[in-house]
Amino acid sequence: MESTIFKFVLKYSLREQILLLVLTVASFPFFYLLLYLPKVIVNEAIDTDASAFPVEVFGVELGQIEYLLTLCAAFLGLVLVNGGFKYFLNVYRGVVGERMLRRLRYDLFVRMLRFPLPRFRRTSQGELVSTIVAETEPLGGYIGDSIALPAFQGGMLVTLLIFMFIEDPVLGAAAIALYPIQAWLIPKLQKKLNARKKEKIRLARALSERIGEVATGIREIHTHDTTRLERADYTGRVGDIYRVRVQIYRLKFFIKFINNFIAQITPFFFYSIGGYLVIEGDLTFGSLVAVIAAYEKLADPWKELLNFYQVKEDAKGKYELLLESFQVPGMIEQEQIDVEPETQTPITGVLVATNLDLKEEDESETTFPGGLSLTADLPASLAIVGGPGSGSDRFAHILAGLKRPATGQLLAGAFDLLTSPEAVTGRQIAYVGPETSLFSGTLRDNLLYGLKHRPIRDAAYDGPGRAQWERRRTEAARAGNSLHDFHADWIDYAGAGVADVDSMRARAIEVLSIVDMDDDVYQLGLQSSVAPDAVPELARGVLEARKMLRTRLADLRVAHLVDPFDRDAYNVNMTVAENLLFGTPKDRTFDPEDLAGNAYVRKVLDDVGLMDDFVGIGRQVAEVMVDLFADVEPGSELFEQFSFISAEDLPEFRGLLARTESDRPDDLDGDDRTMFLSLTFRLVPARHRLGLIDEPMQERLVLARRRFSEGLGADRTPIEFFDPERYNASVSILDNILFGRLAYGRQRSAQRIGGLIGEVVDALDLRRAITECGLDYPVGIAGSRLSTAQRQKLAIARSVLKRPDVLVIDRATAALDASAQDRILDNLLKEFGSRALIWVVHRASLAERFDETIVLEGGKVVEQGAFAELNRPGTVLHRMALAG
């Protein structure tokens, strides 16, 4: 990176800056003319004797009126030209600034990508975010102005000064007499200000870091009741920032004050000294007036320059701080991430490690002295056994290219792994560690992530789309950004050993079964909702499954476990509201939260004469709830779990009941009715057992249901009605197959029905299609919507899918249960039969199934060979295997 922001500006935007300067200078004559012309119009065209006309302008004779109109037209033209200049300059300044800002942010991001990994232990996310995003922001404004403004204003200033000195050297000198004081004093103050500003930025970084930490550790804070501590800490931090900011304000406005004071004290010299000179006769009165007028003109550019000075100093300081945190020793070489090898040769042959330095930079020389050396034939399956402090994890990092040791050598056949670019280590070697990172996106995105090294096929753009991409690319080139199209097809099908999208899909599911995750994804698929148009075959299959499940339930005599959706029957396992809608809302028209207030719903209830009954039932519900929960303390979770009325609303309902005790339902006003109605809507007769929705009432509700749907018209309704012949896109695949509700009060019915659905799905051969839907499951930020075990499995699957020559696994299955570990280990050994699998095992006994076992202690190989041979009394391996 350039050492100062000015060098950065010169290097990347010199051409633009010169253009800005030239245009600024070029605009000046027009500006001057615009100021000058009104005087000409008044003096020469309006306020002149008619005898002076006609006048000749560019060889054309003009009368007074014509002359006036010509001048006015010229004035109008100048206004346009000036406005145009200003507009263009402003926009172009903005463009230059933004382009440079974009370049800077890109450079910083690339630098971050190249940080040596240990650096991330010392630099927090919050700090990186705040530097790259927030701290760079104000620099854009400065960059646009950085050359044109000082050049232009400085030029004005010099011109005016020359004029003054020609007029009268003494007064000229008087006008700038205090400049030296300013030039001496202001930088001194500015230096102090700069220091404060840097401090402010450092504090702000620390604050972002802390906020990030608190957000990540929020569970700890609540489990240990430390919100007070955190609040106090936060208070201290924002307090510090406050203090520094106030100091900044003081200094900044003190500098302003000095500048203003000096600017206004100069006229004092003019009046006193100049006046004395005029009175003494050494200076003409006209000269004094001219000089004072010139000085007033001087004030503007001088002020602009002083302002600019502050902005410049500010930008300079910010840039220095950026440099400080992004100029890191030991950065990954640019080539290492850029080089694209022409051919790819498999990594195979003898793996030879010689004196590999395992220690981290901040560790002493005595850690792992001499380094690690070993020899092993590849391809083979190697188990590395080593407890904490054995260096096994570090060796795995080196193998994966994640750690480049200071000394030592690592060869695999013809490959020098330590100097290979990431195009080799990141494609032909895969690594899965004990901690995995997933990115927000779908499961599929994460699974395919390891195949996206470079764009393979251009994105298919239509005409305008292509033009737009060309424009974006050109602009990216101007800012020195990446020229790769993010929307291109990045997936390296060949790398995964498949031909096209379809076979990739099949392979993805195969890999999921290798890591024992196919069933998880199938379950996620069942829970997901899909658009039937996107997967018409699956939608048809699901409808078939729906029918088959119904038959199966009847055959097994367990039909009572499911209460199916039947348009002509009341469903006691749904709420009253659900029974009325009998479908799922597609938009917010029938917001379940506010159904009681919905005008159409109320009209339907009125039409079928249910309104008053419902209000009456709601009142009864309220009475029961007020009665039941009267003694329950407000904080109790019973409210949340069971009550229709929250603890806060209970007094309100109690009041409402008391107030309307003697009223009949139709005496109540609208809001009271809504309140009661909303309670009725939430009743599930089978579950709540309040005996309020009896059979005649249920029949009337079915009537209301019919009225409700008929009134909405046949198509484009905001409700997807439950229709046995239609796929419902607003609910999950599972709910589509179930097409009903699990009956209340049946233990373990969810498992039993789940099992039956599985049978039906297999009978109709739908499992694969449903699993594919599961691939679209959004995993959440850092995969937070998956379990730890699922995250681990997905990370392994991602590495298997890219078919590396060498797969390095470092205790990546430790979080899984023993049977899953065994299955995955077996599957991987089979999958990597002809390739290398190097596994740092977390239990020595796991090494048994590998071709070769390597035992590490203190960074040295202490035993190596077949497990069966090594595992005898007296060996380190034997001791470790016994320990578990």
């Binding site: 009665d627 003694d631 019973l638 069971f642 709540h688 057992r689 005996g691 009060g745 233990q747």
Partner: protein, 157 residues
């Protein structure tokens, strides 16, 4: 079946007999009314004890595993409470419970059951009395068995 009936049924359970009806209503409301088919197992010996049950309709069999296979050790009928000791001692189920014919039972979650005891000393006292009874009975049994053993030994000697 509605809440009121359920609360009245609960009232007939000795442990709950001294509780106010309103509290029993809340208990019923926060419990799950479960239906079981004949022969359906409510829980098996060794399962974690996460709830207590009160029979509303029907009967259950207490099945104990012995060396000679499962043996029905007893039958419980309406208004009887079972499964509460497991909840109290936080230990696994000691026997398997099976519905005889159609059964309807109120399933009280462990949380609610313990809460009820904590808030109602009368009920807690009752539990204590029951537990002491059981203790006394098993102690009597123990002494009886010991006596038998000694007699047999002296006969052999």
């Amino acid at each position: 079946m509605d809440l009121k009936t359920e609360a009245e049924m609960l009232h007939k359970v000795p442990m709950f007999s001294r509780l106010e009806l309103s509290k029993l209503k809340l208990l019923a409301f926060t419990s799950e009314l479960c239906t079981f088919d004949g022969g359906e197992v409510l829980f098996e010996a060794g399962d974690a004890a996460d709830s207590a049950y009160v029979i509303m309709e029907g009967e259950v069999e207490i099945v104990v595993e012995t060396g000679a296979g499962p043996v029905v050790e007893g039958v419980l009928g309406p208004n009887e409470l079972f499964g509460e000791l497991g909840v109290l001692t936080n230990s696994p189920r000691s026997a398997t419970i099976r519905a005889r014919d159609g059964l309807v039972a109120l399933r009280i979650s462990d949380e609610m059951f313990l809460k009820l005891l904590a808030e109602n000393p009368e009920a807690a006292l009752d539990v204590m009395r029951q537990l002491s009874d059981k203790l006394v009975r098993s102690q009597d049994q123990f002494i009886g068995l010991q006596k038998q053993l000694r007699e047999q030994e002296s006969v052999r000697a």
